[in-house]
């Protein structure tokens, strides 16, 4: 009786795993399709990815623009791998949402895990915060921005500098770490 039950449990476990894996792939495709809106450029090249007729490496050359959820990412050139969900933007990259803007020379990231890294002359601009850093990591699901390396900026007139800062995008709270300095107006450090 116990042996039979064990077998049944193993069968149920294997079937559940299969169902979960099938549904998770389907849901990932579904959510990506709903979030992605448009990719445009002066020239779009679509190269099919290894034996998969429906997945492409898409190259946008000149005035590349991706509309994703309520965000837009623009640059001179862009690459999008529809199989892996990876994106790469080059030259005059501007990442724009309703409340903030991130600029830089290069943006790389993944649509599926909603994390993007902007590097090279990178700047974060919101209504109350303006900061520069070596690179800015933006995580959409966590609503966080992480500015790494030589961070300088100001929030509501207060100047700050640090090796790293994290910005909670919902509350605009910032956390400084590594040689952190905060300068209050007319009060000094």
């Amino acid at each position: 009786m116990i042996v039979k039950n064990k077998k049944a449990i193993i069968y149920i476990f294997v079937i559940s795993l299969l169902i979960i894996s099938v549904f998770s792939t389907f849901n990932s495709d579904l959510s990506r399709a709903q979030n992605l809106q448009e990719l445009s450029g002066d020239k779009l090249t679509m190269e099919p990815l290894a034996d998969n007729e429906n997945e492409y490496l898409i190259l946008a050359k000149g005035n590349a623009l991706l509309k994703y959820k309520d965000l837009t990412i623009s640059g001179i050139n862009a690459e999008f791998n529809t199989l892996k969900g990876t994106i790469l933007f080059n030259n005059n990259v501007v990442f724009k949402s309703e409340n903030y803007e991130i600029k830089g020379d290069k943006l790389s990231g993944n649509i599926d895990n909603e994390e993007f890294t902007v590097s090279g002359n990178s700047t974060f601009i919101s209504k109350n915060i303006e900061a520069t850093a070596d690179e800015i990591v933006y995580n959409q699901s966590a609503e966080m921005a992480y500015l790494n390396g030589n961070v300088n900026g100001k929030q509501n007139g207060r100047e700050f500098s640090a090796q790293k800062i994290s910005i909670d995008l919902a509350s605009e709270k910032i956390e400084l770490s590594g040689n952190a300095k905060l300068v209050f107006p007319d009060k000094g450090e």
Partner: protein, 204 residues
């Protein structure tokens, strides 16, 4: 005697005038006739040397890796211009894989259009009038496509649209090779746009 001289001069003048008038008139009518003939010739359509119905032709790219099986309901041959005019046209493109022992042909796509012109000396095939290409679950449409056998190149223009289950691409121009291994979309008036289709509730 004096009178005779006068008459001779008067008669000579009249003769010269008549001759000049006659030649002038003659050359003008001749020019008019030439112009008429020329205009008649220019409006006259070249006659087809031969006309055929329900014809099939096989064309290949330079390295013979792609076969285009062309069929047309009507075909007219104009030898002077090395031109074949066809309507309506259907092309089935096959990928050829050849080894010492076997030859395999796989259907790549089917192209349909209202009219087709094939210039055999240049290896150029132009299909126009609501052209479509169907390949698996993808469908291309455009106003005109030119297939260059020698350069292994296809160029499509005019309201270029590619539609698949997931995406729609719109552009002014499209370029690829005969096997459609890659797809290049160019925006001339506006940027080329790839839009992801929205999935409705029934598909969720």
């Amino acid at each position: 005697m004096k009178l005779n001289k006068k008459w001779i001069i008067v008669l000579s003048v009249i003769f010269i005038t008549i001759t000049v008038l006659f030649f002038f008139n003659f050359s003008t009518t001749e020019d008019e006739n030439n112009i008429k003939e020329k205009s008649e010739n220019s409006t006259q359509k070249p006659q087809a040397e031969e006309e055929f119905a329900d014809i099939k032709l096989n064309l290949y790219n330079k390295d013979k890796t792609v076969k285009l099986e062309l069929s047309a309901k009507n075909l007219a041959r104009y030898e002077d211009e090395n031109l074949l005019k066809m309507n309506p046209v259907q092309i089935k493109a096959y990928d050829i894989k050849e080894s010492d022992q076997s030859k395999e042909e796989n259907l790549l796509y089917t192209l349909r259009g209202e009219k087709g012109n094939y210039q055999s000396d240049k290896g150029l095939l132009t299909i126009s009038g609501a052209v479509t290409i169907e390949r698996h679950d993808k469908r291309f449409s455009f106003a005109e496509i030119t297939i260059n056998e020698d350069d292994n190149e296809v160029l499509a223009t005019g309201n270029v649209v590619l539609e698949s289950k997931k995406v729609i691409v719109r552009s002014d121009r499209f370029r690829s090779n005969l096997a459609l291994d890659f797809l290049e979309f160019y925006g001339d008036k506006e940027v080329a746009r790839l839009s992801w289709k929205e999935i409705d509730d029934s598909e969720k």
